[in-house]
């Protein structure tokens, strides 16, 4: 393997380069909490966590030297694990992976291939493009909306999938996101780091309160829609198709645009303006939710409930109400 620029650890602290740096410097939790030289790491870590909670993108620490960047990343992870709230974990994973993508999308293919290997994928550059091993491709693309990511529309040969450089960066973002979502044991933290955690919890509660969780009485809904609602409420990442299906269905059964938008508020990447625009657009065009065959193809269908469209499910039941 070619020699790697040690500065890459600044941008990609989660890699083995970052790990090696921690080892060689003998960095401990005490250092992270008390070392005066790491003061800016603590400040930036807090900024990154709060940005994750508010749905922003924190880029003020891009200039940090490798050791400080690795320390910042470690503090983000430690504090997030210490808080141990699944909603926060999703927000942090979303934020960190977005931040990663902002940096990775301009990297040459050789660096992306290295990052891919760091994230457990086998990536083989081939001219301007690269081959990704199928299981890794599936792990990454399963969370992505849009039919261009579906395997059936790709050049896939003997267990490898051909992707463009920019697509590779996007896939790696997903791999990092799922990597960050893996459960970690809850650490005990020195007080200065706990203080950061306390502040993050306060902001997290504010965000939670702003999500109108009260959901008016429910109609009878097909299992696929029930599942999508749960996903939305839990703030899980949803594909474009899932969001479209859910919005189109709810609008057709009489929900207002505002009520549908509220449902998406827990989404880690929620943006009021964008969500409102998209939902209103679906409402204005009067789109029907896709039929069951399409939903099966999109992997949204969860069980065969004997109807051809989610709208025909429980028709009689709905009328009774």
């Amino acid at each position: 393997m070619e020699e790697l620029d040690p500065a890459l650890a600044s941008r990609y602290p989660f890699t083995s380069l970052g790990e090696r740096l921690i080892e060689s410097e003998g960095l401990t939790e005490e250092d992270l909490a008390y070392d005066p030289l790491l003061e800016q790491s603590r400040r930036h870590a807090k900024g990154r966590l709060l940005s994750a909670v508010s749905g922003g993108l924190y880029l003020e620490d891009l200039h940090l030297p490798p050791l400080d960047a690795v320390a910042t990343y470690l503090i983000v992870r430690l504090v997030s694990s210490w808080i141990g709230d699944p909603f926060l974990s999703r927000l942090v994973a979303e934020h960190e992976s977005k931040r990663f993508h902002r940096l990775a999308r301009d990297e040459p293919l050789s660096v992306l291939a290295w990052l891919g290997r760091e994230l457990g994928a086998t990536v083989k550059p081939d001219g301007e493009r690269a081959w990704v091993d199928l299981p890794s491709y599936l792990r990454a693309a399963a969370g992505l909306g849009g039919s261009r990511w579906r395997l059936a529309n790709r050049d896939v040969r003997r267990g490898r999938v051909l992707v463009e450089r920019r697509e590779l960066a996007r896939l790696l973002q997903e791999l990092l996101r799922t990597h960050l979502l893996r459960p970690t044991p809850r650490p005990s933290l020195p007080p200065p780091l706990k203080d950061i955690g306390t502040e993050v919890i306060r902001r997290l509660e504010e965000r939670r309160a702003s999500i109108q969780s009260s959901r008016p009485s429910r109609q009878i809904m097909p299992p696929c829609i029930e599942k999508l609602i749960e996903k939305a409420e839990r703030g899980e990442n949803m594909s474009h198709q899932e969001r479209f299906t859910l919005a189109a269905y709810l609008l057709k059964v009489g929900w207002s645009v505002g009520r549908v938008v509220d449902l998406f508020r827990s989404a880690p990447d929620f943006k009021e303006r964008v969500a409102r625009y998209q939902v209103s657009h679906i409402a204005k065009r009067g789109y029907n939710p896709p039929n069951c065959e399409t939903l099966r193809g999109w992997g949204i269908c969860v069980e065969d409930c004997g109807v051809k469209s989610p709208l025909s499910y429980g028709r009689r039941g709905r009328r009774r109400r």
């Binding site: 091993d133 199928l134 299981p135 599936l138 792990r139 693309a141 399963a142 969370g143 039919s147 261009r148 579906r150 395997l151 059936a152 529309n153 790709r154 050049d155 896939v156 040969r157 003997r158 267990g159 490898r160 051909l162 065959e293 099966r296 193809g297 999109w298 992997g299 269908c301 069980e303 065969d304």
Partner: protein, 396 residues
């Protein structure tokens, strides 16, 4: 003991060596006995105990999990602790929409016992009851259709997923379908969504012709014949049609025929076709759609994502036919004929009374039937079992 169960027991005693389950100690085993009792959450230490258990219980149905568990005998999925799961594809002739699968269809009234040929009427013509039982049958044409589907699945798994030979387990279910499991380590850890993606790939459901043919700048973006997956299959098939039309053998939409030479270069060598007309793009998309529809593998796409599934233990007997759920190599699959090759029960004669019409059928090269309801016939056990287990006869 019920003579049918005795015949099952004899099979499991004589043929126990053919019963195998890879990594059996990590599997959940399930059985349904002849009196209908379901025995779930069983685990065994090794193949020997599995074989002994089957010979002892002589169950009507025997299954094992796609999942590999920490504690396979635990009662709930959470306690079982899923370590990994094989990727399962299920082909069931019932989903193929093949007319041959309706061969020998009959019904019987559960109230008065009246029976008849064909699909069930709304109500029994004799007593008016609506409690009617639909009775299906096996036909060679139907089984052949399921086999063709399984062969196409294996081709796609090899060319697209790169799994073949030892990495696969293929078997006839013993009834109207086939199961294919991917055993390869690298697929064992896939989650539900990833499995769904594989299912919608082989079934072509997520194929979108607009992703394959579209206009980019002033050129037509198109797939190339040397690509893999559906893109390659579509490109090669359209190329074939273009060649045939050149020899006057296939009719093409005029928009496509007009640009024949350019399309051959685009699909064959990737030379961009400039200024495609909207009609050309539309017609190519339509052709792509039709090609995928014709070649897609009609699996039950609800099965693949579910890691808690169980399927029949290889070479165990199917309780609706008495046939063996035979494990097959891809080569064996090509010439495989279930009603000839999957017979596991003996040829001992037994007398059967029919309670519904039995169509003409062939098992192990011998022809039987057709039989009217209410007649007594002496048959070899393997033929009698089909009538008995399909609910069309009883042992007097």
């Amino acid at each position: 003991m019920n003579p049918l169960r005795a015949a099952f027991r004899e099979y499991y005693a004589l043929r126990s060596r053919s019963i195998f389950v890879p990594r059996v100690d990590l599997r959940e085993i399930m059985m349904v006995t002849f009196d209908g009792t379901v025995i779930r959450h069983v685990s065994v230490r090794n193949l020997e105990s599995l074989r002994a258990m089957l010979a002892r219980e002589a169950p009507r149905h025997a299954y094992y999990s796609v999942g590999l568990y920490e504690r396979p005998a635990a009662k709930s999925m959470a306690e079982k602790g899923l370590k990994a799961a094989e990727v399962l594809f299920d082909i069931d002739a019932d989903h193929l929409g093949v007319d041959e699968c309706d061969y020998g269809l009959a019904w019987r009234c559960k109230s008065c016992g009246e029976s008849g040929d064909g699909p069930s009427p709304d109500a029994c013509p004799k007593c008016g009851s609506q409690d009617l039982e639909r009775l299906d049958w096996l036909s060679e044409g139907c089984l052949e259709a399921a086999k063709r589907e399984a062969i196409r699945l294996l081709e796609i798994l090899e060319s697209d997923l790169g799994v073949s030979g030892e990495e696969l387990m293929v078997y006839y279910t013993g009834h109207r379908g086939y199961h294919v499991r991917i055993l390869s380590e690298r697929f064992l850890g896939l989650g539900k969504e990833e499995r769904r993606e594989l299912a919608s790939h082989v079934s072509g459901l997520s194929f979108d012709p607009r992703e394959v043919f579209y206009v980019k700048g002033s050129a037509l973006a198109s797939p190339r014949a040397d690509e893999g997956g559906w893109r390659g299959r579509v490109a090669r098939e359209i190329l074939r049609l273009l060649e045939e039309s050149g020899r006057g053998k296939a009719a093409l939409p005029s928009s496509v025929a007009k640009r024949r030479e350019e399309l051959v270069r685009a699909l064959g060598e990737g030379v961009p076709l400039i200024n495609p007309t909207p009609a050309l793009v539309r017609d190519l998309r339509r052709m792509a759609h039709e090609i995928v529809q014709a070649r897609r593998v009609k699996i039950d796409e609800m099965v693949t994502p579910d890691t808690s599934r169980l399927t029949r233990i290889p070479n165990s007997l199917h309780g609706k036919t008495g046939l063996r759920a035979m494990a097959l190599s891809p080569d064996e699959l090509r010439d495989f004929q279930p009603l000839r090759d999957a017979v596991g029960l003996s040829g001992d004669q037994i007398r059967v009374f029919t309670t519904a019409p039995v169509p003409r059928f062939r098992v192990k090269g011998e022809s039987f039937g057709p039989y009217e309801p209410g007649v007594g016939v002496d048959l070899p056990m393997f033929a009698a079992a089909l009538i008995l287990l399909k609910g069309r006869g009883v042992i007097p």
